[in-house]
Symmetry: C2
Subunit: 227 residues, 2 copies
Amino acid sequence: MSKDTGTPARLDPDKIVTSALRIADAEGLGAITIRRLAQEHGVTPMALYRYFRDKDDLLAALAERLLADVHLPEPSDDPWDRQLRALLAACLAAVRPHPAVAGLIPTRVLLSEAGLMLVERTLALLAEAGFPPDQATEVGSQALCSLVTLVTTEPGVAESTDPDTRDDAIRAKRAALHSLAPKRYPHVLAAADALTLCADRESYYELGVEFAVAGVRGLRPQSRTAH
Amino acid sequence: MSKDTGTPARLDPDKIVTSALRIADAEGLGAITIRRLAQEHGVTPMALYRYFRDKDDLLAALAERLLADVHLPEPSDDPWDRQLRALLAACLAAVRPHPAVAGLIPTRVLLSEAGLMLVERTLALLAEAGFPPDQATEVGSQALCSLVTLVTTEPGVAESTDPDTRDDAIRAKRAALHSLAPKRYPHVLAAADALTLCADRESYYELGVEFAVAGVRGLRPQSRTAH
DNA sequence: ACCTGAACACCGTTCAAGT
DNA sequence: ACCTGAACACCGTTCAAGT
């Protein structure tokens, strides 16, 4: 045996990211701490700096993990908008389980292989759709960002991570809306429930994806080209 | 004279929010600190707690300030999509000067009078457009959030607040993209400049607003109704 | 009512050592 | 190469007083 058994495994950056993701899922982004991660891995805080330049670097690694979880659909002969929908759905599937971390993604897509490939595919589809490069860049970014927004602003999700606190927060918010002046805020009152909790999460996300696809379709230069 | 002149003015929460906004604009959201705000107002940190429950409450007040700066256009006889465009443009105008603070808004719109009125108007327009209440709620939220995303992810803005550091960051990011494998990332390479810095900020924001309007229009139930 | 002072329980990070 | 230990310069917030 060339190695001692029972030797504490060498610090693994992937495992640190996994811990960080678990912490964020359970207690929010603010619960991620260099010191806490170090403690959970039986090591001094400074040990983490061998693998991450600073805390922001660690958060970037978190975003990268989510992006790496995207299973990009293979390019096909489907019309561009069908392919775009599938692409966005794939991103959404990777991001949905981690609402606390989702917001880290938009500013960090270009920092990881997975993110770059995601952008590459998106731009390719939009070029196929007839967008000039600059417009494709912006429209593609907006479409991808809208998925993150969908997750981070899903009614009832941002409230809190603890289920009990969450229910209380939702009830309180709902009560506040219901107590508004009906003359001044008729539509808000009518939408009080929908604004505070998602009635049907699946159709919420389906509609959200369609919103992005429709935005792209509506901006397409030659809208008469057969698809 | 019933008052001493030169008496330090009583602590004014509005002035504290103003200071916080200035700090965030100049140095980012992370530079906002209870202790620093207290110092700038010649007071003990604990003095601020008389006006803000905690730091999150102060951040909510920041978001409220931005929302209060929105000059809602008067309802008119214009078609709903024209009015929606004007509404979104008004929001954008209020948010654009404060990219570091913009991200606070989405989860806090329903906590302020200004935000509630904004949502009320949006829902009214979408009802006019034929959306059922639940869809209007989601689609309206998405449209408003997309403006925030536009500001917080404007290429070249998120990099840094200091102009020199910012230019360096942009150059570095651009160089990184230009060094990618052309076979693997042809579209990303072609879009390297557009991805790192906005060539024309005005058309960037115009296109962004159109994206949101197009998303809404594309999801409208009875799309054949005359507008 | 409005503000102070001291203290508590944390942070991220630098620097110099250890092995 | 990989990790430790001590220290620095911060945080937000509680609690008990002051006037």
